[in-house]
């Protein structure tokens, strides 16, 4: 995972900078520049530490004997608070069992997150002013925002609490305006700054991008990181690893067919029953077309849609994802699970020995996403 995030960070810095990888033809230029996640405003911007992705949540599944990367979440990955909350619940309810095993600690995540964010301070001070920017109480992840702000001892701010003056970001405090050095932002790019992105956004801070481009404040993660977790770019991550690190990928991708490529499109159309088709810009498990669950008529209808807009889709084989025993309505039943470990990267990469483990709660379902009713488990990484 450290290898993978190192390559992804180099890729993002490269595509918004000299774009060597595009010039060398490793990734087709139109795949990158034509991607909706490509933020032209980030071109030529000096990114603190050359690390655009300070917090990454990589989704892993176990297929057979090995792990595969399902996707990389490089924008505002969520779920880490559940990892910690699940652990606290397990420790409370299964004290004896927990004591018997030498389980790696996940509760130090807050400390590691703080250490990582501190390294992004543009002034390099030992005690920077760090804030967590939330869209507010109505956001589905608000609990997590609050939890993390508490863990790292940062103020939990909304856009209306911040303002930009002379290229610096300030927050309104009861002692006046206080300069902000590092913003752990949990607001999507589109809403970050109404002067740059969506003009109707009231969640962001007018002028924030100006301050960021001047290097007066650090945004973690940087805007524009979505270019590297777009599903159409995902297929190139192994190539990125070879290109930037001159290493073979340690973790394997899931085989991916880019429907924008004629050959891949034909393969997808011919084998729709064995494939899951995903919209490239989608997230949260929405818009998935799982061929095996559909009728012939539905597959025919979808084929037409695919032919009309192939660039918007990728296809992957339906995986036999590993299952774990779950307590479902007073019975133990198998359910599909995936893992989302969180990788923190500042001057170095850091991980806790655990991950957010998601469960697809309906019997036979492959969709583990929390926004679609997925459940969660405590995951134990046991010391040797």
């Amino acid at each position: 995972m450290i290898q993978r995030i190192a390559a992804l960070n180099k890729f993002i810095v490269d595509v918004y900078g000299s774009a060597h990888i595009l010039a060398d033809g490793v990734i087709p230029i139109d795949h990158v520049r034509g991607c909706p996640q490509y933020r032209i405003e980030m071109q030529g911007v000096s990114i603190p530490l050359d690390v655009p992705v300070g917090i990454c949540g990589t989704d892993l599944v176990r297929v057979g004997e090995g792990f595969r990367v399902l996707e990389d979440n490089l924008r505002v990955p969520s779920g880490v608070s559940y990892m910690i909350a699940n652990r606290q619940a397990t420790k409370t309810n299964f004290r004896e069992l927990y004591r018997k095993y030498r389980v790696r600690d996940v509760e130090k995540y807050g400390t590691l997150l703080y250490e990582t964010l501190r390294e992004f301070d543009p002034n390099g001070s030992t005690d920077p002013c760090i804030v967590l920017l939330t869209p507010g109480v109505f956001n589905a992840a608000f609990y997590e925002h609050m939890f993390l702000a508490d863990e790292i001892g940062a103020e939990l701010v909304e856009g209306r609490d911040l303002l930009v003056n002379d290229g610096f970001v300030y927050m309104r405090t009861t002692s006046g305006l206080r300069k902000v050095d590092v913003i752990y932002r949990r607001v999507d790019d589109d809403f970050l700054d109404p002067l740059f992105y969506r003009r109707d956004s009231i969640l962001g801070v007018p002028g924030l991008m100006h301050a960021y481009r001047k290097g007066n404040v650090a945004l973690v993660n940087a805007p524009g990181t979505g270019i590297a977790d777009d599903k159409s770019i995902y297929a190139y991550v192994p190539d990125m690893i070879r290109y930037y690190l001159s290493e073979d990928p340690i973790l394997r991708n899931v085989e991916t067919y880019l429907c924008r490529e004629p050959e891949d499109l034909e393969y997808t159309l011919d084998n729709l029953e064995q494939l899951v088709v995903k919209p490239v810009g989608g997230s949260g498990g929405y818009g998935l077309f799982i061929g095996a669950d559909k009728t012939t008529a539905e597959r025919d209808e979808f084929s037409k849609q695919l032919r009309e807009d192939p660039e918007n889709y990728i296809a992957q084989p339906i995986l036999a994802i590993s299952r774990a025993p779950c307590w479902i309505e007073r019975n133990i039943e198998p359910r599909c699970v995936d893992l989302r470990p969180f990788i923190l990267t500042g001057k170095e990469s850091r991980l806790v020995g655990g991950a957010f483990c998601r469960i697809a709660l309906p019997r036979g379902s492959l969709v583990v996403n929390s926004s679609q009713g997925g459940g969660a488990k405590d995951l134990w990484v046991v010391k040797n």
């Binding site: 508490d150 209306r160 003056n165 309104r172 009861t174 305006l177």
Partner: protein, 326 residues
């Protein structure tokens, strides 16, 4: 601390004080329903609604004056519901509890976990209740329990909240709400004493107020068992030792503002200090000799409102201009 968080804490203090205050008077009113005359019951309801500056949502109850009617025993069920569970009524106990908890939910990182648990537990105890649930059982106990909930919460705050600005803003909110509600209550009570409508009222209502705000024992100690409305009024307004008096709250506010020091918006901060100074002087030095008490209470009410506005402008919602400290 973040200005918005301070604002949230200030309003937690205000909302919960309103819960406590309304609950105290509702307990009193439930007691009145048992053995008081119809005009005392009517007066009790009128006092509650008028000083809380609210009105029932039920149209028939709103227009009682036009019908030459009054609020009696039969209206009490609906009136009690209005001040207890009607969410549309911003002064109802449930509404204030909900708003207080909502503020706390948004700034859980600013309060202790024990405060959150305490508030949450109290909220969930009443969230699904309705007036039917309490009316035939023990309504007085219900309101007494709400007073206890708030007292417990304030005790947990005192035991667990770090004594920085968080504490100060929570207390300022609580104290300003108390001062405003007591001024409004005293104002209504004073006007009613002089009005023809309630000339037949006995001293029950003065005595019940003393009891409601834990001043009855001190009163008896100093003035004996006979009720003198002017003594009761003086005690609830200007007694320096009574924790529920207006004077006591105002002096506490002055101390808290002084502890906060300079505000980010200097002009409004200075104005807030000026207004609290005027209020303290008014109650402590002008009140004893004032001939027109009603006028003085009205003036104090408007000063307290201005004080709230200047505090908000000085610390919470300040405009960024030259007067703001960077």
């Amino acid at each position: 601390m973040l200005a918005r968080s301070a604002h949230g804490l200030y309003w937690i203090g205000r909302y919960l004080k309103r819960v406590e205050h309304t609950s105290r008077l509702m307990e009193l009113q439930m007691n009145a329903l048992v053995d008081c005359t119809w005009d005392q019951i009517h007066f009790g309801w009128l006092r509650l609604f008028r000083h809380l500056k609210t009105a029932p949502h039920n149209e028939e109850l709103v227009n009682w004056e036009e019908h030459g009617d009054s609020w009696g025993l039969t209206d009490s069920f609906a009136l009690a519901d209005e001040l207890s569970f009607v969410m549309e009524n911003e002064s109802s106990i449930l509404s204030c509890f909900t708003m207080g908890r909502e503020n706390a939910r948004q700034m859980r990182h600013c309060i202790s976990s024990e405060m959150w648990i305490c508030l949450n537990k109290a909220y969930f105890e009443i969230r699904d209740l309705s007036i039917e649930d309490i009316w035939t059982k023990d309504p007085m106990q219900f309101y007494a329990n709400r007073v206890q909930d708030v007292n417990t919460f304030m005790g947990v705050c005192a035991a667990t909240l770090y004594r920085d600005e968080r504490w100060e803003f929570l207390q300022i909110g609580r104290l300003i709400e108390h001062a405003q509600l007591m001024l409004a209550l005293m104002s209504f009570q004073n006007k009613s004493t002089d009005s023809v409508e309630f000339e037949d009222l006995e001293h029950y209502d003065w005595w019940s107020l003393l009891h409601c705000f834990q001043a009855d024992e001190a009163y008896q100690h100093y003035f004996g068992a006979k009720i003198h409305p002017e003594h009761v009024m003086n005690m609830l307004v200007a007694d320096q030792l009574l924790p529920n008096s207006i004077d006591f709250s105002l002096n506490q506010i002055a101390d808290r503002l002084s502890a906060l020091g300079e505000a980010p918006a200097n002009r409004h901060g200075a104005m807030a200090n000026r207004f609290i100074g005027r209020l303290v002087a008014l109650v402590r030095f002008e009140w004893p000799d004032a001939e027109n008490k009603t006028r003085m209470l009205t003036l104090a009410e408007s000063l307290a409102l201005k004080l709230h506005e200047h505090i908000a402008a000085a610390w919470f919602n300040y405009e960024v201009d030259d007067s703001v400290r960077f």
